[in-house]
Each structure stands twice: as C-alpha cells, then as structure tokens.
C-alpha cells in the first residue's frame, strides 16, 4: 500500500479516509491505520535509534500521542506529514530524555554504543549504517523523502521548516551518501 495519498490508486480506502473514520470513533479504521502506517513509522524510528526495541517503544509512544492529537488532523489535508510531525516530536522528546539520563549516569555505567556491522565483501551497502553517518536533521529529511516518498512540501510541513531548508539538507545528505557509497567496501550495490 502506498503511503502517499497522492499516489494511491487502489480501491482500498485512503489513509485520510481511515483517519476521518478514526476521528469518528471507528475502531476498525483505527486498526487499519495502525497496520498501514506503522511499518513506515517504525523504519523512521529504527533509523534514528538504531535499536529495534527502542524503536518499538517509540512507535507505541507515537500511537499514544496520535490518539491524543487525533482531533487536530484537518480533513482534506495529507495525513503523512501530520503523522511524521508527531513521530518527530516523540523522537526528539525521547532523545532529550535519553541524553538527560546519560548525563545523570556515572561514566562507568554508560554502555558502549553498538558497533555497526561491517559489510561483507560483495554485499549491498547497509542503508541504515550509511544514514547513521549523517547528521540528525539530514537523516530525517532523507528518511521522509527517499524512504517514505513524501514530497518536499510535505517534509517541510512535517519538520516545521521551509522548502528551501529541506532542499538544502537533502542535497547535502545526498552528496555525503554518494561519497560514502563510492568508498563503501561493497563496490557494486544491489540493483
């Protein structure tokens, strides 16, 4: 199922229709919406956290906030930017909380960060590992643009920034990704 309402051509109800039904108290529509958008949101969280369990927790927290904020979705507007804006809010909150907890911990008790798996020769480059090398703001723009297929305007709305700023971040991210891919050990990526 395509996540972008503008590209969905199937007879299945669009995400926006499901959201309207959810606002009207339809549990089936709410469950269908969870099924439809959770994989993309999970990928968004896992790219940023690098930890599956933490990403699952963030996804659950996101759904709690989506439920609380469901009255603020404006019918007629695309749903994905609204969802990503809430997901981003959850991610930033969690990042601040984790940082505060780390500052409070004694140095010895802080666990070492997980080491990114090294690519075996001939394997396709791991996108998660590549994205991990980008700054946070560029990573979220690439995730929304390239992985979720949001338009420039939708990404700008989700990240509360201007289209120009999104463009600039995407260009910088693509340049850096290209440089990383050019010197990746895999050589030729998978088609």
């Amino acid at each position: 199922m395509s996540l972008s309402s503008s590209t969905s051509a199937s007879p299945a109800p669009s995400l926006e229709t499901l959201m309207l039904a959810y606002q009207n108290g339809d549990s089936t529509a709410a469950n269908a919406l969870i099924d439809a958008v959770s994989p993309a949101l999970y990928r968004f969280f896992s790219i940023h956290s690098g930890d599956r369990r933490h990403a699952a927790d963030l996804l659950q927290e996101a759904w709690i906030r989506i439920h609380k904020a469901r009255h603020t979705y404006q019918p007629g507007q695309p749903l994905m930017p609204w969802l990503y804006a809430i997901a981003r809010h959850v991610r930033i909150d969690a990042f601040r909380k984790r940082r505060a907890e780390r500052l409070e911990q004694p140095l010895e008790s802080i666990a070492e960060p997980a080491v990114a798996p090294t690519a075996s020769p001939g394997a396709a480059p791991d996108l998660h590992a590549l994205l991990a090398q980008l700054p946070d703001s560029q990573r979220e723009v690439v995730c929304m643009l390239k992985l979720s297929g949001l338009s420039l305007e939708e990404v700008a709305r989700a990240t509360s920034s201007s289209i120009g700023s999104v463009k600039q971040k995407a260009h910088r991210a693509y340049e850096k990704l290209r440089a990383l891919l050019a010197c990746a050990p895999a050589g030729e990526p998978a088609p």
């Binding site: 972008s4 606002q23 009207n24 108290g25 339809d26 549990s27 709410a30 469950n31 969870i34 099924d35 959770s38 994989p39 999970y42 990928r43 699952a56 996804l59 659950q60 759904w63 709690i64 906030r65 439920h67 609380k68 904020a69 469901r70 009255h71 603020t72 404006q74 507007q77 609204w82 990503y84 804006a85 809430i86 809010h89 601040r96 396709a124 480059p125 996108l127 590549l130 643009l145 390239k146 992985l147 297929g149 949001l150 420039l152 700008a156 709305r157 989700a158 509360s160 995407a170 260009h171 693509y174 340049e175 990704l177 290209r178 440089a179 891919l181 050019a182 050589g187 030729e188 990526p189």
Partner: protein, 260 residues
Amino acid sequence: MTCRELDDLLVAAPGAPLPQAALHHLASCPACRALVSAGAAPAEPLDPQLLTRLRKTLPPALAPVRPLASTSVLTVLFFAVFAAAAALGAARFGAAGYFALAPWQRLAVFALLAALALAASFAAARDMRPAAPSLSAPTLLLAGIAALEILFFALLHDYNPAHFFHAGVTCFRYGLSCAAPAALLAWFIARRGFIVGPVSTGAAIGAVAGLAGVCAQELYCPVLTIPHTAVWHTALFAASLASGALLGWLSRFLPRSASL
C-alpha cells in the same frame, strides 16, 4: 546530466520515474546508481506481535472526537483575546493616549497593531496543529520590533527624554497588567490543540499578549516622545514574546503522561 542535476530530480520528485538522461547518467556513475537503489525497497512488514501491542495501545471502544476548529476560527479567537485585553485596559486606565494622537496617527498606530496582532494570532492558530507551517519566533520578534520602531520614528518628532525611567516603568507596568491575562487566555485556547513546537507557540502567544499590552499602552499613554515609545512600548512586545518563547522552551522539560 551531472550528479548534482540527478540530486535535483531526486529531491524535487522522489519516487517519480527518472527521465532518459538520468538513466544514461546512472549507467555510467556507480555512486549515483547506488544512491538511487539504496532504500528503494518498501518498509518491511512489522512483527505481528508488535502490531497487536500497538492495537492494544488504543482503547477498545473509541469515542468520536470533534475536530479542532479551522485555522481562521482560531485566528479570530486569538485576535478577540488581543482586542478584549486592550479594550479592558482602556476601560481601566482611560484613553488619554488615544485622544493625544492626531486622527491620522491613530489610524496608523492601531491599523499596524491590528495587522501585527492578526499575524501573531494566525501563527498561534497554525501552531495548534502538527505539520502546519508557522512563523518562527525570531521572525515574529524582528518583524514586530522593526514595524513598531519604524512607526514611532515616522509618526513622532519629540526627542525629549524627560521622566524617561519613571514614566517608562509605570507605562510598562500598565501594559504588562493587560498582557498577562491575555497570555493566560491565549494559552487556554492553545491547549486545545497539540503543540509540537512549544517555543514557536509560546512566542506566538507572547506576541498576541504583548501586542494587547502595547495597544493598551497606546490607548492610555499620553507621552508622545520617541525615547519613551521606542523603548518602553516596544520593550513590552519584545519582553512578552521572549517570555512566551522561554516558557515554551521550559515546558519541554515537563514530564508527559504516558497513558491515554
């Protein structure tokens, strides 16, 4: 086609089929080929156990919710707060300042204040909804201060600094006594939404309240000197907006409820 031009295509129309020139470039550029193919696969399906957990996050019986009012209705509400606070200020402290101004000066001052208040109200209304583009706090601050300073320097010609501190502090206090309840009322309206940018929302609410205070000052204050108005009247707007932004920033450290 260059790598940069390919980036332009990928950024402008993500997911759209690439033109022939781009395909030629991809054939000769391994880095771009890797960039285009990386992450092309759709998101993997989620673990059914996680999906079940997510479904259980929502209450089994959902109650319908009334959608948030439209941005224009919310803008009118915030503007009404601005107007009511300024009117109450005039009712309480009098309107000597209004009568001290010439008719064309009144028109210029209150038209500008109303326009700024409308912009701040619109920004506050937009901020109540996730993914609605809004004005940033520094933009609001700079635009408001610049507009007020230009107005005061264009309208007034008296540079007498007499009673600068005494009259200034009194005037600031009166303005603040109108701005504070306006901020409280605006905050009650904003709470109805879901705020993802507390700093910009705080700044917008502060701007609405600050402008209500400045409007009350313009109605009440008969001191028509540039040093007084350029400093004390503008300061109220700047202080209110900055306080709103600061409170918004501090609110990010408040614990959030993890349940529905």
